[in-house]
């Protein structure tokens, strides 16, 4: 009886091991959608930007973009900043007041975002505005440079594997698993939230966008990446999986198999 149980357990373990390995080698595709499909676009009416602004933004940022108690002034912002906030879904803001804006599916279609960007930038009038929406060239030849620039400037907060990190003050450097190349560069140029501005040559900006894109697709040659954030999950897995399995084995081997009265 007990032999049968032990054997059945071994058979199950064996099957699980093989299935897991097969799954690991077959699992190549990653789920890739970067943005949710936009809601039905309205026609590009003139004045669409203003309408959308008054509807979705003015309650916090003020009808003239001068800011209110609920939201900061938008005067002086460039297109890059507005486009980043809208296209990553951070704006319109939907969190608890004072909390960090989170990435979510954008509330507007691309056309609506373009109209809003144009309108918000126009609010600043002649005042020197921030950077425009950058044009980004992703190129495999920039990959190595991208790694170097990323390690020097981005890894301290976002982590070497771009899986995000806690940077104190309740702030989180978000994971970069869904950011697009343009959004990456927009963030570097405008420094959203607690992020500082990274004023780098165009080639370095392109290189970082290239490397971040690479990380999003990067294979894990060594199996499950368990978060890719270093020794904390590794130690956890060593105890729970490694020591857990070994304790089970030790218990099965070490228990008294032929206590008096057991069938032989």
């Amino acid at each position: 009886m007990r032999t049968a149980r032990l054997l059945r357990a071994s058979a199950l373990a064996l099957a699980a091991v093989l299935a897991l390995a097969a799954g690991m080698t077959l699992a190549g595709g990653t789920d890739a959608p970067l943005l949710l499909p936009p809601p039905d676009a309205q026609d590009g009416l003139p004045g669409m930007g203003q309408d959308l602004y008054l509807e979705a933004c003015a309650s916090c940022h003020g009808a003239d973009g001068g800011g209110t108690d609920l939201g900061p002034s938008l005067i002086g912002l460039g297109a890059a900043s507005v486009d980043f906030q809208l296209s990553t879904g951070r704006m319109p803001f939907a969190n608890q007041l004072g909390a960090q804006a989170q990435r979510k599916p954008p509330a507007f279609s691309q056309e609506q975002i373009d109209a809003l960007v144009e309108y918000v930038v126009s609010l600043s009038g002649d005042q020197a505005a921030g950077p425009p929406i950058p044009s980004v060239t992703v190129s495999p030849s920039l990959l190595s440079r991208g790694h170097a620039v990323f390690a020097g400037n981005c890894a301290p907060c976002h982590g070497a594997t771009a899986n995000g990190g806690a940077v104190g003050g309740g702030a989180l450097a978000p994971p970069l698993d869904r950011t697009t190349p343009v959004q990456t560069v927009e963030a570097m140029l405008t420094g959203p939230g607690q992020m500082p501005v990274f004023q780098l040559p165009q080639e370095d900006l392109d290189a970082v966008a290239t490397y971040v894109g690479y990380l999003q697709e990067a294979p894990d040659p060594g199996g499950f990446s368990i978060g890719g954030i270093g020794p904390v999950p590794e130690g956890f897995v060593a105890w729970v999986v490694g020591m857990g399995l070994l304790l089970l084995i030790v218990y099965l081997i070490g228990r008294r198999w032929d206590s008096p009265g057991a069938p032989s």
Partner: protein, 453 residues
């Protein structure tokens, strides 16, 4: 035939006869130390393979291997050799990962083994010497882990070395001299990698393996402890002979330990040095952690308040107390515990029958409190990861853990004390029934034992 040939030359038969009949008590917890031993076997085998490919050299070279994001970058030869091992040597990556997982599980098994020995009082007279040897082995295992962690010369391991250097330099009076001797100058130095290699593959393994042999020899000489099973007394050992069942079980356990480590090494990625990139003293990646068994020291550094003062004209750096003094005291108490306990309890008798964990309330409570302090510090070592995963401010984590470091062990002590006392009250003192057992006579024969007492 061969056995006979050997015996004629070495006369091993009588030794083997007594050795193979040696009695091993049955209990699963006695196998924890074996798991650690078998992890060491795996570590030595995979380590030899790694050492044949690793180049302990900090001289910079330009990386030109298959990992695209690093092509053209300047890396150390050490890092380049680890990259080559991971991406170009067949079965190299799996060997590296098995080695690293085996190291993490090795220390985990040692910790569980120490806990078993501690909570059952197995270190009591006459086994104090083997406790000391065991603590030495634990320290050697930690040193092996730290030196090994630093060898790939990636960004994470270099950051770890940086912290170690800072703690050494902070030792009052001798710190800077000691740090310059160990590292060969002001951090970062090119010599440290090759020095760590010498320690990791020569000096420390020799001491570790030698220590393990002494540990086992003393165990063999003193015979195993045993739980309070039927027939067990202070003057005998009840269990099964070494040959054949124990040999079979242990061999099976060795292979199964290796199987678990192979499984982890294949399926779960560990220490992806290609992601971290080569070490550069002006770069850093967050989160930055050591391997789990050093996490408590890093946690102590994180929790300790910003206190720096001068004592008789000597600056006491803020890393000294949490980085040197507190771990020093912790290890001293642990090492000396077999000599501390008799002073408190007055019990200086020989013990071969193990206590149940609740039999000695003081020991259990001290052990639980120490363990909880260790756990709190370990969590503190990963406070930024906990903050990231549960989306709480790091500062809040730190403040809570600072309180927890004092509160949790105290509560654990009191609770354990109460539980032990309650269990002692309830403990059933009636003797278990005694099945017929064979008793080995001094002359080597057997007779049926009547009453064990």
């Amino acid at each position: 035939m061969i056995l006979r040939w050997v015996d004629e030359r070495l006369g091993m038969a009588s030794w083997a006869r007594s050795g193979l009949r040696k009695i091993f008590p049955d209990h699963w917890s006695f196998l924890l130390g074996e798991v650690a031993l078998f992890c060491l076997v795996v570590l030595v085998l995979t380590g030899v393979f790694l050492a044949l490919f690793y180049v302990p050299d900090a001289i910079p070279v330009v990386y030109d291997g298959p990992y695209a994001p690093l092509v053209g970058q300047q890396v150390s030869r050490a890092y380049a050799s680890v990259m080559e091992l991971s991406f170009e040597v067949k079965a190299g990556l799996v060997m590296r990962q098995v080695h690293h997982w085996a190291a993490l599980v090795f220390v985990a098994a040692i910790v569980l083994h120490v806990m078993r020995v501690f909570f059952t009082g197995a270190y009591r007279r006459p086994r104090e010497i083997n406790w000391l040897v065991g603590i030495g082995l634990l320290l050697l295992a930690l040193a092996m882990g730290i030196t090994g962690y630093s060898l790939p010369d990636d960004l994470l391991s270099g950051t770890g070395l940086r912290v170690i250097y800072s703690v050494v330099i902070g030792i009052p009076l001798i710190g800077p001299y000691l740090a310059f001797l160990v590292f060969g100058g002001e951090f970062p130095t090119e010599t440290i990698i090759s020095r760590l290699f010498v320690f990791h593959v020569m000096l420390l393994p020799a001491l570790l393996i030698g220590g393990v042999l002494v540990h086992l020899a003393i165990l063999w000489r003193q015979k195993h402890t045993q739980f309070r099973v039927a027939g067990a007394t202070e003057h005998n050992v009840v269990g099964r002979p070494f040959w054949p069942s124990q040999v079979f079980k242990s061999t099976g356990l060795m292979l199964l330990t290796a199987a678990v480590l192979a499984l982890m090494g294949g399926l779960i990625q560990i220490n992806p040095v290609w992601s971290y990139g080569p070490f550069d003293a002006t770069q850093v990646s967050a989160p930055a952690q050591p391997d789990w068994y050093v996490g408590w020291l890093d946690g102590a550094l994180r929790l300790f308040p910003p206190i720096e003062f001068t004592l008789l004209g000597v600056t006491i750096p803020s890393v000294f107390i949490p980085g040197v003094l507190i771990p020093g005291i912790a290890f001293a108490v642990m090492t000396l515990w077999p000599f501390i306990e008799p002073r408190v309890s007055g019990d200086r008798a020989e013990h071969h029958v193990l206590d149940r964990p609740y039999d000695n309330a003081l020991r259990a409570s001290v052990g639980v409190a120490g363990l909880l302090a260790f756990v709190v510090l370990t969590v503190a070592g990963g406070n930024d990861v906990v903050a990231l995963v549960f989306n709480v401010p790091v500062e809040l984590m730190t403040d809570v853990l600072r309180i927890a470091f004092f509160a949790v062990p105290v509560l654990g002590f009191l609770l354990t004390w109460r539980i032990c006392r309650e269990l002692q009250r309830r403990a059933d003192t009636t003797d278990a029934r005694q099945p017929a057992v064979l008793r080995r006579t001094a002359s080597g024969g057997f007779e049926e034992a009547g009453d064990g007492h």
